[in-house]
Amino acid sequence: MKKTRKLRPGENVFVYLMMAFSLFILILAYRIAGFSSISSPGAFPMAAGAVMVISAGLTLLGNRKLEKPDAQNFRDEMKIAVKAIFPKEFVIYTGIVIGYMIVLQPLHFLPSSFVFMAVSMVVLRGTGWVKSLLISAGTLVCIYVIFQYFFRVIMP
């Protein structure tokens, strides 16, 4: 027997977004070569785009059979969804990761990664300041030796 599960808050909104994205892909795929030939460069992308649209549609249909999430109205659901998808730790940490990627090139790899690792270990409550500085330094030395000395890979 299939167990019916509850819809996750915001799940349908996400699938609708995916549906819109699929339609956008399908249009892009059509614009590659139209219906010129069954072996045109656009034929396979169009097929894949169509599969995306259809499967997103089927997901929406399937979701109709599931129980609604525990929310009074749409606004309430969105509120719950935002809380579930973006917990405080996640927002802070993703912010740190994005910041790291931005400063990666201007600050160079070693200093930016050192600061990133040390800060995020403390933020994520992995360990205290002293230990996080030591672990970051150790990890970076390992990475640097392996990539730069043995493989002569260029670092960002």
Partner: protein, 501 residues
């Protein structure tokens, strides 16, 4: 003749320097393979310049070692961190990572080591005994057969979809689109590039792999940041004989899949291990645990297949001068540089090379067993690090690994984009496995589909007819049809009713 075969075969075994080089290569390969972003292809390419002035046998011994070790090494990080160290280890992560979450990482690595060696030896045996025959068959594969193989691989979506088949298919089709971004290999036309040059080169699938598996997993883990990591049981790493014997029949079957896929030009360990995983899901009636939740069968199938694919990849390379995968393509380059002429005449001009390579591969597999079973305790303990320490390390490794592929910072942004998108997919019950499946198989499907049609002058009727008249195509077509039927609810219900009787 037999005497010389033996002397060539054991050349690397009795020469201390050759033996040391094979050993060093294998050891280095394991760690290269384990680090995402450092690929075997890259390592072997670097070794070419490094060994330029060496004697050819020494250079080849080192490369064989790195190749064997690297293909195996990818499983380490796949099991421990859910980041496949190499594309050939993608399927390993499906059941390997759940095993680590159950606290059985040590045992999982132990089993995968032994089984990899079993697969490796089967690959070597086929290479030694049936190389000309397999090479002949591999060359008979037409574009439509590659298409059928890719379809077979894509059918794996059915078993990787998780809670909803439609969601799995969506993820797979999305992966196909990602794989198609860039210049069309047949017409050099840009697809999904928005007119920019930056996208013309396409999205390297390792970038998608690192983002979807590594970063997305790290972001999901933040939700349970204070959860204590699972204690790893490292008391019993070496699998007992009875365990190995129990899984041996499956390992032998999947190894043969590995050899054949490896021998096909253009397909390597990544596709071999995915098809092997699919085979295990279909053929094993009572797995040790449900697939995807830590079944040892799901670990054994890809691990035996990807190492068996090494022997397979050498088959067309040594007999015909056609590379079986990317690494053997690079090795062909190395042979050229050292003044040899890879091609159909290679075995006649330099007969020792064939048996020397076979012997070396066998030797590398022995070293793989020795080195693979050491250091597992330390590796397994790595997972016990608090998540707050592990996650930043994963992110930095992902960044370095992505950047090294093409030395392009844009790739790092792509990787992060995949990571965040993967996070959303995971939260809403879409699996990331099918995405990566699509990225790998999509381009192969696209090109072989169009080649197959073009070879029949775009005549669909003729193409379909060829699917049933050519012997190889017929076997593959029937296999695909059977796979499709066995996934339908009608068939599954019937089977359940029969088994309950």
């Amino acid at each position: 003749m037999t005497e010389s075969v033996f002397s060539y075969f054991f050349m690397g075994w009795f020469d201390p320097s050759l033996m040391a080089l094979t050993a060093a290569g294998t050891l280095a390969g394991i760690y290269i393979g384990a680090i995402p972003g450092l690929s075997v292809t890259m390592a072997v390419s670097i070794l070419i310049s490094f060994t330029f002035s060496w004697e050819v046998n020494n250079a080849l011994a080192l490369m064989v070692g790195v190749y064997c070790g690297g293909v195996y090494g990818g499983s380490r990080t796949a099991i421990l961190l859910n980041i496949p160290g190499a594309p050939a280890a993608i399927a390993t992560s499906f059941d390997g990572f759940p095993l680590a979450q159950l606290g059985e990482a040590g045992r999982a690595i132990g089993v995968s080591t032994v089984i990899s060696v079993v697969g490796g030896f089967i690959g070597v045996a086929v290479l030694a005994l049936a190389a000309p025959w397999v090479a002949d068959m591999a060359l008979k594969f037409a574009p439509r057969d590659y298409l059928l193989l890719a379809v077979m691989g894509l059918l794996l979506v059915g078993s990787l979809s998780g809670e909803s088949m439609a969601k799995g298919i969506f993820a797979g089709a999305f992966g196909v689109i990602v794989g198609l971004v860039g210049m069309d290999p047949l017409t050099a036309e840009g697809r999904f590039t928005f007119g920019t040059i930056a996208l013309l080169g396409g999205v390297h699938f390792v970038i998608a792999m690192i983002g979807l598996f590594g970063v997305a997993e790290a972001l999901v883990q933040i939700h349970q940041i204070d959860l204590k990591p699972v204690k790893q049981d490292v008391s019993k790493i070496l699998p007992s004989w009875s365990v190995i014997l129990k899984y041996l029949p499956l390992a032998i079957r999947t190894s043969f899949i590995g050899v054949l896929i490896g021998a096909l030009p253009g397909t390597g360990g990544d596709i071999a291990s995915l098809l092997a995983y699919d085979h295990a899901r279909r053929s094993v009636k009572k797995p040790s645990r449900p697939f995807g939740k830590g079944a040892y069968e799901g670990l054994i199938a890809p691990e035996s297949a990807n190492n068996a694919a090494i022997g397979g990849a050498y088959i067309p390379m040594l007999t015909l001068g056609i590379p079986g995968d990317a690494v053997t393509a690079v090795i062909i380059g190395a042979l050229f540089i050292h003044g040899l002429k890879p091609g159909p005449m290679l075995m006649i001009d330099t007969p020792h090379l064939f048996w020397f390579t076979v012997g070396n591969l066998a030797l590398a597999n022995i070293f793989l067993l020795i080195f693979g079973l050491t250091g597992i305790r330390i590796f397994a303990k790595m997972v016990e690090l608090p998540k707050g320490i592990l996650i930043p390390i994963i992110i930095v490794l992902s960044v370095v690994g992505t950047y090294t592929i093409q030395n392009n910072i844009v790739d790092v942004y792509w990787m992060l984009g995949f990571g965040i998108f993967g996070y959303f997919l995971k939260l809403y019950g879409f699996q990331v496995g099918p995405v990566i499946l699509g990225v790998i198989l999509g381009p192969l499907m696209d090109v072989s589909y169009r080649r197959a049609l073009m070879s029949c002058r775009n005549d669909i009727g003729l193409t379909v007819q060829e699917l049933f008249t050519n012997p190889i195509s017929l076997i593959l077509t029937l296999a695909v049809i059977w796979m499709l039927i066995s996934q339908t609810p009608v068939w599954k219900n019937r089977k359940n009713r029969l088994s309950s009787k």
